[in-house]
Point group: C2
Chain length 285, copies 2
């Protein structure tokens, strides 16, 4: 049996009782490391906290390892209970779908333990989840690679009066150029896009394409570490949010569509208070 | 302090450790009863299961009560810790937003404990969450009230190649016509829309409006009791799903947009196998 267990967004306490029960009875426990161990508070210490809670060792599996060792993971799951732990909900990322598809194709039983993901936790800002359009991803621009396929999607959502969730790029275990040219694997330090960088890139693309999908005065909500004790949620214009220091990753950004009165009222609690220097602590919710 | 705690989708084991810790330290515990106690396995017995787990009594609060007693709930939260338990994630429904807005306006601290909701748990069928357009609600048609505002939204999603989540109507504690005319409160038995009824209504509206948003051959996924041990997930055309008995509530329906190869492969595991009588047991995932 292969258990795919969502850990939720904050820390080790966000696992469900169902998830904890499952992981405790598994013989082998893997944990995906390709999204956001850091934001999950999982340094080397973090892993031991989880290991203490579960009462067993965890093999941290990065993307390469999941791809390389999928056979090993699956062959273990054929004869015993294996847990694969995922930050957030199991189906936030395509990679987990791949693992499930392979398991099912081999006739291995798969059980999913759901949890919160950024896709529903953003509901906390008061914008109704059913009023979001297509989600977009904002990749880090480089000197030579500045893709803008998200722009048209945002424009569609804006036309329809819908909110847009922007997922921001995460670069973990990217091989360095130097290492690629030398044929030895060495990795760049992890990078997580901030709300500020995302807005800069968004405004650059608007300027280039000129479709009036949004501008500096467009209403947005910036999120950092959503679901954690120290989450920070600030509502304001793009221009205002450019000045806000959201702190440690992970960040995400919502571009606000048409708002209903109850959405407006709730957003109000997260608004930057004008007349104060910089943002106030708007992070409690 | 007011804790708004998501219980997840299945049963009492779907609460998170964080949520359990919070509810155990609260002096007063309310639980919303206006979505789906039934599907949550919460009959009178169910409540005692929760009460045993939490070690304290729970006041089940229907919509009327939350509206009428909000003052009482909030004044208790001003001086002590109060838990408000919600099936799924706290921000699936507007009503909870109202309560949070009122609490914040009174200066009461609010903490949210997230959990899985139908909005992210549908990811289990393999259709990527970021490829959904606006969510629609399908209300029960009556002889005189057959609203079709969902149609245009589905049509937009179809045009954009996006998937559409259809949330299906729940009627709990509806005053009966008889009781309204007699001035005494009596309630209709609860009603939960099935996937089958939803599809019948959808096809009726397509026939009426003729916009070719979808037809009998459109690819869909029907879900029942998602997140529960006995969940049922079946992929097929509208026509095929009309013949499937999904069993007890809650149900929801996804109208499939353009699919990527990995989505297609995953959906395949849930497809009705042709040549067998009716559907096979496609509910394990």
């Amino acid at each position: 049996m292969l258990y795919i267990i969502g850990l939720g967004l904050g820390d080790e306490k966000d696992i469900t009782l169902r998830g904890l029960e499952a992981v405790r009875k598994c013989e082998k426990v893997y944990m995906e490391a390709y999204t956001s161990l850091l934001s999950f508070g999982l340094s080397t210490d973090g892993i031991s906290t989880l290991e203490d809670l579960y009462g067993k060792p965890i093999t941290v599996a990065d993307r390469e390892m999941v791809e390389e060792k999928a056979d090993e993971i699956l062959s273990t799951a054929r004869t015993s209970d294996v847990a694969f732990l995922v930050v957030g909900d199991p189906f936030g990322a395509t990679t987990h779908t791949d693992l499930v598809v392979r398991a099912k194709a081999l006739g291995i039983e798969v059980k999913v333990v759901h949890n919160a993901s950024v896709m529903n936790a953003i509901g906390i800002c008061g914008l109704q989840l059913y009023r979001y359009g297509e989600t977009v991803s904002i990749p880090f621009f480089t000197d030579t690679w500045r893709p803008d396929s998200f722009y048209q999607k945002i424009q569609k959502n804006v036309e329809l009066g819908l909110h847009t969730l922007c997922l921001l790029d995460i670069r973990v275990k990217e091989p360095s150029w130097e290492s690629l040219s030398r044929g030895k694997k060495k990795y760049e330090p992890p990078r997580y896009m901030t709300v500020n960088t995302a807005i800069e890139q968004l405004l650059e693309v608007e300027e280039k394409l000129g479709g009036s999908a949004y501008n500096e005065e467009s209403s947005c909500v910036g999120f950092a570490r959503i679901g954690s004790e120290d989450q920070k949620i600030v509502a304001g214009t793009m221009k205002e949010l450019l000045e806000v220091d959201f702190g440690a990753p992970l960040h995400c950004l919502v571009i606000v569509g048409n708002v209903h009165p109850v959405e407006e009222e709730m957003l109000g609690f997260y608004k930057i208070r004008r007349g104060t220097k910089g943002e106030k602590d708007n992070c409690n919710a």
